[in-house]
Symmetry: C2
């Protein structure tokens, strides 16, 4: 499997390219619109054809490249239910598998940051690879105070689903603001300050006390992302 | 082997942490001074003891964290000959091996960006891992116009040493300015615009025509790095 992590520095967003060497097909997770030309160049250089562009959720902090990638490469756009975006090719649900050749991403429904948040698990590698979007960040978690977010649901997504995975599982988040590129379930269980709590109630209190400012690009990003980032 | 790539965003510098699970020892390649607290926290969390801090060369664009790491962790500072820095614990030459338990870094002398530029090769993984400092960048190469740089020497380092490695070898550079985190020898051979040339003379002409501006932090970084980044 070809694997690339690509960083967009303005919004500190990580995108992930997974390529299947046998068929030459590829999946991009959480592409950023401003970097679409760069993704396409890399796909061409690696001799990969983009088959699927998938968003972990409706982003409020950057504009997805899915629509532009569909236009330029003919890839399909996948989003998890309850997706509200126009232009999606296929929707998926908890437990569904997105596959290109031998590359298989298992969709894990992890509501909380938004009500359409999913993580993706690759089980054919050792250790497993887990793409956690804005649900689990390195030493942090995604905010839950808008877009039908719910700290109770996020607690369940984190503690009952993600932290139940093998401790060696590699964690690849949707963002990092401190230069970290990956983590593991073991580390996050031990050292993520938001996960050192004694139950759902404590997590809800913690998340409601964060007093976060409104995302810079939210008013631009959400309407655009409801159209898969394409021009109307 | 524990492996982490860490990004310092002000100077777009990548540092690399390699940990040996058997002995709990670790090596840091090209640490940045402003991030030393973060490296130490990560080392502690991963239950690793830093044994070696090593610089690929005398940096002109950021201040090395080697001196501060030595002070705070007791690690040794390694630099390649002809190192001119004060405070170095051990120097090495082409072909020497830096090892911590089962983690072995083979030093490859690759002058050209500077006359003390080295790359480091890990041969116990498949594919190999190659840490290329400022000699080979992703779709680029390090400038050769100061610090005893030489485009002729860099040509030989690139074409006779680095590009002679197995094409699957993973390339981890000292910097990237476009969000890329890794490449391979195969890709660089095919798509690095500076390597699509017909001989040493053409490379020298190319490098002499770049008209690069003076590095922002050079006047601060070089004197500091001649003291391993420590206060005088």
């Amino acid at each position: 499997m070809i694997f690339r992590q690509i960083f967009e520095s303005e919004t500190h967003t990580y995108s992930y390219l997974l390529g299947d060497e046998a068929t030459g097909g590829a999946i991009l997770i959480d592409p950023v619109k401003s970097m679409v030309d760069q993704y396409i160049q890399l796909l061409n250089e690696l001799d990969l054809a983009l088959k699927i562009s998938v968003d972990t959720h409706l982003h409020a902090d950057h504009i997805t490249g899915s629509g532009l990638l569909k236009k330029n490469t003919g890839c399909a756009i996948y989003q998890g239910e309850p997706s509200r975006s126009k232009g999606v090719s296929h929707t998926f649900e908890d437990g569904d598998t997105l596959s290109i050749g031998e590359v298989e991403l298992k969709a894990i429904y992890t509501p909380g940051h938004t009500d359409d948040s999913y993580c993706f698990l690759v089980e054919q590698t050792r250790p497993y690879l887990l793409f956690t979007g804005d649900t689990l960040l390195i030493r942090g978690t995604g905010r839950t105070d808008f877009q039908n977010g719910s700290s109770r649901q996020q607690y369940e997504s984190l503690f009952l689903k993600l932290l139940a995975m093998p401790e060696s599982t590699k964690v690849f988040p949707g963002h990092d603001y401190h230069g970290m590129t990956m983590s593991t379930i073991k580390e996050e269980k031990q050292f993520n300050p938001r996960l050192q709590i004694k139950g759902c109630k404590e997590y809800e209190v913690l998340m409601s006390s964060l007093n976060l400012s409104r995302p810079r690009f939210m008013d631009e990003a959400i309407p655009a992302n409801l159209n898969c980032g394409s021009e109307p």
